[in-house]
């Protein structure tokens, strides 16, 4: 475990200043990592002078993250009440805390810890990277199985009976345009097969003249995934 040092504080101030510049430029959102730092690490880290004295690195991290969480909650509630720019207001409140706390802590020697040996830090970093890679692998395994069947990344097929007609809609939730084979079978008629290309996050529709119960649409992707729906029950 390491504790924040002066270079870290300088980094804090730099990141926060960058965040303010981005916000001032009217960008709608910070990206995930800066927002994470701004919400859960930097307020406590930069204001560590005002936190109780910790006995070691672990306790120091708990105090930093805990204080950041508290400040994030308290800053969020008034921010949501603002009619516009509320997330920016939240970020600016936190950034102000970070700058004030960082400057204040930089001027004080209180709470500083001795520098950590470089080799130990490198080992700790390597270990952290290994654990994060394994955890990311676990998440990828779980998420990829969800992607086959439900949740983000699926392809949906909807029918909309309207005015006696049937609307078959293929929606592509994949990140890239996808080619599908769509087979429509209406009772008493043969299969009608079409190859369609659906843009990313877009949809494609087909209107059938009669909404006949038992009409079935089967969608197959080139990757071999299929979905079948039928109007009036499976």
């Amino acid at each position: 475990m390491t504790s924040p040092s002066k270079p870290a504080l300088a980094a804090v101030v730099a990141v926060v200043c960058a965040a303010i510049v981005i916000l001032a430029a009217g960008r709608p959102a910070l990206s995930a990592f800066p927002a994470f730092l701004l919400a859960f690490i930097l307020p406590g880290a930069s204001a560590r002078r005002w936190l109780p004295l910790a006995v070691d690195g672990g306790e120091r991290w708990v105090l930093m993250v805990g204080a950041s969480l508290v400040l994030s909650i308290l800053a969020a509630v008034p921010s949501v009440l603002l009619p516009t720019w509320r997330e920016q207001a939240w970020a600016v409140i936190l950034a102000t805390i970070c700058v004030a706390g960082g400057v204040s802590s930089s001027m004080s020697q209180a709470g500083q810890s001795p520098p950590q040996p470089t080799r130990r830090l490198a080992c700790a970093a390597a270990l952290a990277v290994a654990v994060v890679i394994l955890e990311a692998g676990a998440y990828w395994i779980a998420a990829s199985s969800v992607g086959d069947h439900s949740g983000p990344g699926f392809t949906s097929l909807e029918m909309l009976p309207s005015s006696g007609q049937l609307l078959v809609t293929v929606t592509n939730h994949e990140r890239e345009p996808t080619i599908y084979a769509l087979t429509v079978r209406e009772p008493g008629k043969g299969d009608v097969r079409r190859v369609i290309r659906v843009p990313s996050a877009g949809s494609w529709s087909l209107t059938l003249a009669n909404a006949v119960p038992g009409t079935t649409a089967r969608l197959a992707s080139r990757a071999g995934r299929t979905e079948t729906v039928s109007y009036g029950g499976p």
Binding site: A32, A35, F36, V55, V77, V80, A130, D148, L160
Partner: protein, 598 residues
């Protein structure tokens, strides 16, 4: 930081925890694909997280920082178990309640919007507000932002508990073991990991207690009081029961400190907590008083009924559709009995040392003593949830009490030999308790995600249902009331942004409209009375029986006693007819407009 000699090395322990999560991911993936062997993979994963951690923290070699690293990584490793269950989504019904509040905050720029899933929840906006704002600021989806916020909260919970126990027990080894005993509480892996206000309130409580014990045990500054007060305010706007508990703890701590003429008396913190809680309940959240009162009344009434013999005790380890294997029941009951026996063994030893115990330790022991008293309430249907959820608080005391007694006993006997064997036995014991906690806290059938291919009752939201909800979000007017089943309402109110039925306000219950075999005059009357504009039909409701016992609402006919699935014709009664227009149908779900029969 001193070097550690011995086995297992820290790096190996941390890597094994991550490998454990890989096994759990494989278990979830296997189950979702309908394969077999998911349970074996799941338990292998749990053991890989628990056993190396347990052995490591029970051994004498590691430094305090190293123990901290292991308990925090294990705590996060267990949290990831829930994340892997449904990556990027939610699965507990409470999660959808707060998901709805967060979406309302983002869309309305207002707090306290009406939440049709649980109106009381929107009056404690701490968690949904921070998740909503973080989602918008980061560009992450709301479920992913929620996952991050709860993950950070879990870090604070485990880290603060470890630091707190280090100070209370004056031993980092004892504190680490007590923290892992805490991780054996039945709610730790799933319930406390969900996107629900308690998942943030509990870490805030642990953080506040850490700040408090730091104020008692080291020189303090005025700024410490400020951060303590801010943390109290954050807790008050996050969760009702936790804020009440906090008031009690701070008032009692103030009284004890004053009586003992302690250097520090937390009178300011206690005043802030009481005043903020009273003001919040009075001005912002008066609805919680009748809400919590009803829960307390129901629990008391059912307990009296059980004692009087007029109602049967609740069946343990079963749902309406599945029962846990025998070995799980044995482990679950045995692990609970082991903890109770350990408490009974500990108390006489601690009584002999009562003069040397700190006020904080006395508080922890008292909390531990309450745990056995809650066990009988697990047999009462309406009180079991309260008893179950209390373990999230009481296990802090349980772990501290048992570990302190073990420390006292070992110091008397001079048990300093065979530390390797002791750490292995300790690790095995901790693993056993954690497995027991999982088996008692989460039903067997709900531990792994259901197969997407299964021809079964949909106990959770599925792909096509979410697609229907999203269609509703983009095509239906906001604010029109829509009736549906219990699971369907979760998706309609969140992904669909619809106004689902809230019986106390609308004067009609979903089952009254949905369960009759036909659109009878009474159904028409109820649709008019409730001003229901749409009904949501999930055809898979006729594919099996619900594990929660009811299909539409608690208390509906055959709640908990249903033996046959719903007849398809019951669901198809809204497929057409006078004033009824099917406006959406994807084969599994359909939405009918019924406003025409008003």
């Amino acid at each position: 930081m001193r070097n550690t000699a011995g086995w297992p090395p820290l790096a190996l322990v941390l890597v094994l925890i991550a490998v454990g999560d890989l096994f759990i991911a494989l278990a979830d993936s296997t189950s979702r694909r309908g394969g077999s062997g998911g349970q074996v993979l799941f338990w292998t994963g749990i053991v890989l997280v628990a056993l190396p951690s347990g052995i490591y923290v029970a051994s004498r070699g590691p430094a305090r920082d190293q123990r901290f690293a292991v308990v925090v990584t294990a705590g996060l490793g267990f949290y990831i178990t829930k994340v892997l269950y449904i990556p990027g989504g939610f699965f507990e019904s409470d999660e959808y309640v707060h998901f709805r509040t967060a979406r309302d905050i983002l869309s309305s720029h207002a707090l306290f919007s009406f939440n049709p899933l649980l109106p009381e929840a929107s009056h404690y906006p701490g968690l949904p507000a921070v998740a909503a704002i973080f989602s918008r600021a980061s560009g992450l989806s709301l479920p992913t932002a929620a996952l991050v916020v709860v993950g950070v909260s879990r870090f604070v919970l485990i880290g603060a508990l470890f630091a707190l126990l280090c100070r209370a027990l004056r031993s980092d080894r004892a504190a680490a073991v007590a923290t892992l005993i805490y991780a054996a509480n039945p709610n730790f892996i799933y319930w406390s990991s969900q996107f629900s206000y308690e998942s943030l309130a509990l870490p805030l409580l642990a953080f506040i207690l850490l700040l408090l014990i730091m104020r008692f045990t080291q020189p303090t500054r005025w700024s410490d009081e400020v951060i303590l007060s801010l943390a109290i305010l954050a807790s008050v706007i996050t969760h009702h029961l936790t804020s009440y508990l906090l008031c009690v703890i701070l008032v009692v701590a103030s009284a004890v400190a004053w009586r003992r003429r302690a250097e520090y008396v937390p009178a300011v913190a206690a005043t802030v907590a009481v005043v903020a809680t009273v003001l919040w309940v009075t001005l912002a959240a008066p609805v919680t008083v009748p809400y919590l009162g009803a829960i307390a009344r129901n629990s008391l009434q059912h307990t009296i009924d059980l004692l009087a013999g007029s109602s049967a005790p609740r069946k343990l380890f079963t749902t309406a559709t599945a029962a846990a294997p025998v070995w799980e029941r044995v482990v679950g009951i045995t692990s609970t009995l082991v903890l109770v026996a350990a408490l009974l063994w500990s108390l006489p030893r601690l009584w002999k040392s009562r003069g040397r115990l700190s006020a904080a330790m006395v508080g922890l022991i008292l909390a531990g003593c309450v745990f056995p008293l809650t066990l009988p309430f697990r047999l009462v249907a309406s009180a079991q949830e309260t008893a179950n959820r209390s373990t999230e608080f009481l296990y802090v005391g349980v772990g501290a009490t048992i570990v302190l007694a073990l420390c006292i006993a070992s110091s008397h006997r001079g048990a300093r030999r065979a530390t390797g064997a002791i750490s292995i036995v300790g690790g095995l014991m901790l693993t056993f308790l954690i497995i027991g906690g999982v088996t008692t806290g989460t039903q067997y059938s709900e531990r792994l995600p259901p197969s997407a291919e299964a021809h079964a009752f949909p106990d959770q939201l599925v792909n096509s249902e979410i697609a229907a909800d999203r269609w509703a979000s983009s095509h239906l007017p906001r604010g029109t009331r829509i009736a549906g089943d219990a699971v369907g309402r979760l998706g309609l109110a969140t992904y669909g942004r619809q106004r689902t039925i809230w019986p106390p306000a609308d004067g009609v219950t979903d089952w009254q409209v949905m369960l009759p075999p036909a659109v009878t005059p009474e159904v028409v009357r109820l649709i008019r009375k409730g001003q229901i504009g749409y009904v949501f039909i999930e055809r898979r409701l006729s594919w099996g029986l619900p594990s929660i016992g009811y299909i539409f609402n608690r208390g509906e006919p055959e709640d908990g006693t249903r033996r046959r699935p719903l007849r398809p014709s019951v669901l198809e009664k809204f497929a057409g007819g006078h004033g009824v227009d099917v406006i959406y149908d994807n084969g599994y779900e359909s939405i009918s407009k019924v406003a025409g029969i008003w």
